[in-house]
Point group: C2
Chain length 233, copies 2
Amino acid sequence: MKTIDVCLSPELMHLYPVHDKTVVVVDVLRATSCMVTAFAHGAESITPFANLDACREMKLKGYITSGERDGKKVEGFDKGNSPFEYMSDDIQGLKIAFTTTNGTMAIEKSKGAKEVIIGSFLNLNAVAKYLLFNENNVLVVCAGWKGRVNLEDTLFAGALVEKLKDYLGPDCDAPLAARHLYNIAKSDMSKFLSESSHVKRLNKLNIHEDFEFCLSIDKYNKLPRLKNGVLVS
Amino acid sequence: MKTIDVCLSPELMHLYPVHDKTVVVVDVLRATSCMVTAFAHGAESITPFANLDACREMKLKGYITSGERDGKKVEGFDKGNSPFEYMSDDIQGLKIAFTTTNGTMAIEKSKGAKEVIIGSFLNLNAVAKYLLFNENNVLVVCAGWKGRVNLEDTLFAGALVEKLKDYLGPDCDAPLAARHLYNIAKSDMSKFLSESSHVKRLNKLNIHEDFEFCLSIDKYNKLPRLKNGVLVS
């Protein structure tokens, strides 16, 4: 039986050999939700940057610059980190340079993997279907918050473990914990997450709509994947 | 309101400032359960060592040597890592040098804290009561398994968060996750943990009795604490 494991924070990545694995990077609130939304609206590519200045420089090469630090849009950037900014017709064909506090860092740390794909609740089923028919063992990398474990990414990992439970066995305790948490939360994820620290942070920024949107399941049938350091779909 | 946070793996310790905190180190299976048991049977002190050779050398200074690597007693050591080895009358007055795969490493990494105490299900109430009347914020450090998150230490953390919920607020998402998991597990922790990786590891070593014993709640009213690098009670 193939296995599925969950790395609850990018700071634990060094414990997980990934050269032979498919890594699913998830940052539900909001980086990977934005990425999936952008591809669903025709973006050509998204180049993730852990470093802010490197991201900013891409403007000179015809990219639009996107992202946040501490939940807020970066000054001088074209777009922030709300999925609603990636839905208009003008996304079509764009090349996007993207940097966020946690999500793009998690992608950076996953680059040694056999393959890297992007997960969110918005494309949960697309991810699950892909993993089912793929031959590799799986590691879900939760972006967390500045290295700390968060609930929303853990729930996504748990949703994947639950969906694939008849086909991929848990490799350690983290996927078991994530699955239990998802199974408590699934009937009302919004309520379950309302006490989480990141949701409180987002509510302070008046972006409750983003939160609700990012919990929509299977809105898009897109599977962004990393190819030579660039996300395509 | 004072706060309680949970560090799910010693590999995440660098994210948590501890100089002003009371740290509770837990390694349910089995290091901290052994320590509490030893003090309940009259041990004078336990000196934790992350390094095996440093621990071995203490024999020359009149200590008994205890511990395990990969769940097995270290060759040439006086005692292993089963709580049943720390219950006999001959424990009375002993100075013990102790090293384990995960637990003593977690203690080592906690040494910058304002104070360090030792937790297990065996002394859950003693720990909770102490934290309640203590003025510091709290960090529970789960020993995990070789850096990875495990279920049993997470459950102990969750039990503490649950017990103290009216007096200590969760500082981040990890205590919320731990509390949820404990609340699912509490009616039958043994069953809940039966699928966990460490329990499977222990069962292979024929130490199912240890597992059941380490889940006994409030068996001992002892509170081991670190004083100049040495545990006393």
